[in-house]
């Protein structure tokens, strides 16, 4: 009987797919109505990164950083994956670690939204709360302290300074966009947080065709509300950022990005996060400068993680 069951299981081994094999290969969606209304001379294409199993673009670098840690022997089963992130990278670590069987500890400011905390806990991540007054910097310091105390206990991927971060995009996001646009992409628009997406995808696209314009998107002020993005002038510049790479940097206000998020939901049926709104806002600014073009934007995550953000309640 038992052998019969085993044989049956074996016979069906080829069915279904491994979850982690679903990281990447996201859809490239056309924004038909917004382009028609505001920029009919260009093609607006959005890379739907929320399709990744962890719900954001961060699955790509997180998976690659953890795999590189395994290959180099720095990440072993007895190690705890440790990082400071209230955002999508934390969720990506937690999801991948659940699949691979690692422990994850994340330092997060105590004022992170309740839904974030619940997502992280649902995947089994252990949370260390730091003071809200210090925002993510407090979490970063706590992680550095823990790591300095017991470096042997942890694997600390350090996404801001880890080359595997941008290489993930160099190896996947870049080639995907090239193929999905049949090489016709003219502009690539991405927000700057760790800068991994822009640097990795950008380097690949420039290699295919040096004429492709790389557009970096930053918040317009150090004090902003765009989760995941950095105003580089006032921030610790990530080690992997290559300032010389983007052809242009556009500065988008928090409110403009919020307006675009609402527009995307209501006109295109796309519920996305604020950084996607910032990318669309930047692409539409670029559209005013050019006569034609194929503009590819990165839409890093979906909007369900931001439903408790107050801008949804405001009129407009």
């Amino acid at each position: 009987m038992q052998t019969g069951t085993e044989a049956a299981v074996k016979q069906h081994l080829a069915l279904g797919e491994e979850l982690l094999s679903k990281v990447g290969k996201t859809s490239l969606l056309r924004l038909r109505k917004i382009a028609q209304a505001e920029a009919p001379h260009v093609t607006l294409l959005a890379k739907a990164e929320w399709e990744n199993p962890g719900g954001s673009v961060k699955d790509r670098p997180a998976l690659r950083m953890l795999q590189a840690g395994e290959r180099s022997g720095q990440l072993t089963k007895d190690k705890i994956i440790l990082d400071a992130t209230s955002g999508n990278t934390g969720i990506a670590y937690a999801m991948i670690a659940a699949v691979k069987g690692y422990r994850v500890q994340l330092a997060i400011p105590a004022n992170v939204s309740e839904e974030r905390k619940r997502i992280l806990k649902a995947y089994g991540a252990e949370l260390i709360f730091t003071t809200p007054l210090e925002s993510t910097d407090g979490a970063i310091r706590e992680v550095k302290r823990l790591y300095a105390e017991h470096p042997e206990r942890y694997f600390f991927p350090d996404q801001y300074n880890n080359d595997e971060n941008w290489k993930a995009h160099f190896e996947t996001t870049g080639p995907e966009i090239w193929e999905q646009t049949h090489g016709e992409v003219t502009h690539f628009v991405a927000g700057l947080g760790t800068a991994g997406t822009l640097v990795g995808t950008g380097r690949r696209l420039k290699r295919y065709n040096p004429q492709i314009q790389l557009i970096a998107v930053e918040p317009d002020a150090a004090f902003h509300g765009l989760e995941g993005l950095k105003h580089m002038k006032a921030a610790i510049v990530p080690g992997i950022y290559d300032r010389a790479l983007p052809d242009q940097t556009l500065y988008i206000s928090t409110e403009e990005a919020y307006r675009r998020v609402k527009q995307l939901a209501r006109q295109e049926g796309l519920l996305v996060g604020p950084s996607s709104g910032a990318a669309l806002a930047a692409a539409l600014h670029i559209a005013t400068q050019i006569e034609q073009g194929v503009l590819v934007m990165i839409f890093p995550d979906g909007g369900s993680r931001y439903l408790s953000d107050r801008f949804w309640e405001e009129a407009s």
């Binding site: 809200p132 925002s135 150090a222 902003h224 765009l226 409110e255 953000d309 107050r310």
Partner: protein, 477 residues
């Protein structure tokens, strides 16, 4: 009724770099914010939208409670309340509660305070050399909360270091200094960042290594590196906090060519090689680098805090044996080749050559050919002595060195007394001269040769080689 509003780093630029704002007689949060933007108009657009509403991503906490969980802008405030403005994402470089506790003895002094402690946290200081001076420098600057410390050294910890290099412990012997230094400094203060530059500082890499730092502290022990550090600091316009030590005496100053003299204004030319002995040759009181290093650390902290009255333009001379502190006024040299108006040095040069040294990797002068035929190896001497050969062993070191160790049967005639006591020797007897490593005994040999002695040998490598090759029980120093 007085309340304090704490501004995040991101907003300080719009409030004349203020970190706090005090409001009197405001009864609600809305009141307090109105007064804040009345005073600092540039803040208004960052906090409120066009319709005068608080921007949706701006959070206000009263004593760590979010006002949105209370009565919003109508939340009442009481005397002594603290209002914090926090964006919903990404904060600035502020101090955590743990850091506030750690630095409390700084924070309660108005000369440092929160503002000064934040400056310390944002400061980047490079320590060139992690030896006697670098040890107290590292310990105190790390403890004080200097946000980034760069360390330059490439030595390993040696037993002879432990007498004064208090950053290292006995189990560290044999480890690379930087590795041990980082462990100890990070244990003292996990809140700071430590960057290691495990390399030999040279004209090729100095500018690149110095560039990211605000202050360079010279804790080196040789002239080529001192001139290199000076010139690189002048070229980059950075302050060079100088210290040097020898036996019981030390010097300290701050060379900042933008405000005063540089090291070359004080010492235009290096001394001839060999004239000024190193600590390894001349010795040093273990406490002295502590004294000087702590003075350097004090000056670095004052520079970071922006305090006047640093050692710019002054050279502090310390004699620990007499316990006297003296001060010399230093003037900028109008003819200084690097910081003067007619400068001739436009980029870093070859400092080994400038200091008359043969090259980067040949610091110990190799015995020249002239010594050939006059030398005897330790094993050869041992054989002679064992066979009962008639040979006199003369130790030309100083009596305090003799007390550390000596070869049995040897006679002590210090080089300093050699000419007067030469008559104690018999030119008919074979004589083997030795010192610590062969230099002084070579000089003694010349004196005897000129006096007509011929049966002379110099012990190759001195008593140090003897201890290594013949008598492993003998201590080395």
């Amino acid at each position: 009724m007085t309340a304090t509003i704490l501004l995040p780093t991101a907003l300080q630029a719009y409030a004349n770099k203020r970190e706090t704002f005090t409001v009197n007689s405001a009864t609600t949060v809305g009141d307090a914010l109105t007064r804040l933007v009345a005073q600092h108009a540039a803040l208004k657009q960052h906090l409120f939208d066009d319709t005068g509403k608080l921007r949706s991503f701006v959070n206000i906490f009263v004593n760590e409670e979010d006002i949105r969980a209370q009565r919003g802008l109508a939340t009442p405030i009481n005397d002594g309340d603290e209002l914090a403005i926090v964006p919903s994402v990404a904060g600035g470089a502020d101090l955590s509660n743990e850091e506030i506790k750690r630095y409390s003895r700084h924070l309660i002094m108005p000369e440092v305070g929160m503002a000064g402690q934040r400056k310390l946290k944002e400061a980047k200081v490079l320590l060139v050399g992690m030896g006697g001076l670098g040890s107290p420098l590292g310990l105190y600057l790390a403890a004080a909360g200097v946000g980034k410390l760069g360390l330059v050294d490439m030595d390993k910890v040696d037993f002879t270091n432990l007498q004064r290099q208090i950053l290292y412990t006995t189990p560290d012997v044999g480890k690379p200094k930087l590795q041990a230094a980082k462990e100890h400094l990070q244990a003292i203060n996990p809140h700071i960042e430590i960057e290691l530059h495990e390399t030999r500082l040279s004209s090729d890499n100095a500018l690149e290594i110095f560039k990211p730092y605000d202050i360079i502290i010279d804790g080196t022990d040789n002239f080529p590196t001192r001139y290199l550090v000076n010139d690189a600091c002048v070229l980059l316009g950075k302050p060079n906090v100088y210290g040097s030590i020898f036996r019981f005496e030390g010097q300290a100053s701050v060379f900042d060519a933008r405000k005063g003299p540089c090291y070359r204004c004080l010492y235009p030319e290096p001394p001839p090689p060999g004239l000024v002995p190193s600590c390894a040759e001349g010795g040093v009181l273990g406490i002295l680098p502590g004294l000087i290093g702590v003075i350097q650390a004090t000056e670095a902290i004052k520079i970071i805090l922006g305090k006047p009255d640093t050692l710019v333009g002054r050279l502090l001379l310390i004699n620990a044996l007499k316990m006297r502190f003296r001060e010399l006024q230093l003037k900028k040299d109008g003819a200084c080749p690097i910081c003067g108006p007619k400068r001739t040095i436009m980029k870093l040069i070859d400092y080994e050559q400038f200091c008359g040294l043969p090259g980067a990797h040949a610091q110990q002068p190799e015995p020249t050919d002239e010594r050939q035929g006059w030398e005897i190896a330790p094993q050869e001497l041992e054989t002679l002595l064992k066979n009962g050969q008639d040979v006199r062993v003369i130790d030309v070191r100083e009596p305090h060195e003799w007390d550390i160790c000596h070869i049995e049967g040897a006679q002590l005639i210090p080089l300093s007394e050699f000419t007067e006591r030469m008559h104690e020797l018999n030119s008919a007897e074979p004589i083997v001269l030795h010192c610590k490593s062969g230099g002084r005994s070579w000089k003694a040999l010349q004196i005897l040769r000129e006096a007509g002695f011929t049966k002379l040998k110099n012990l190759k490598g001195g008593i140090t080689a003897w201890a290594e090759d013949v008598d492993p029980q003998m201590p080395t120093y």
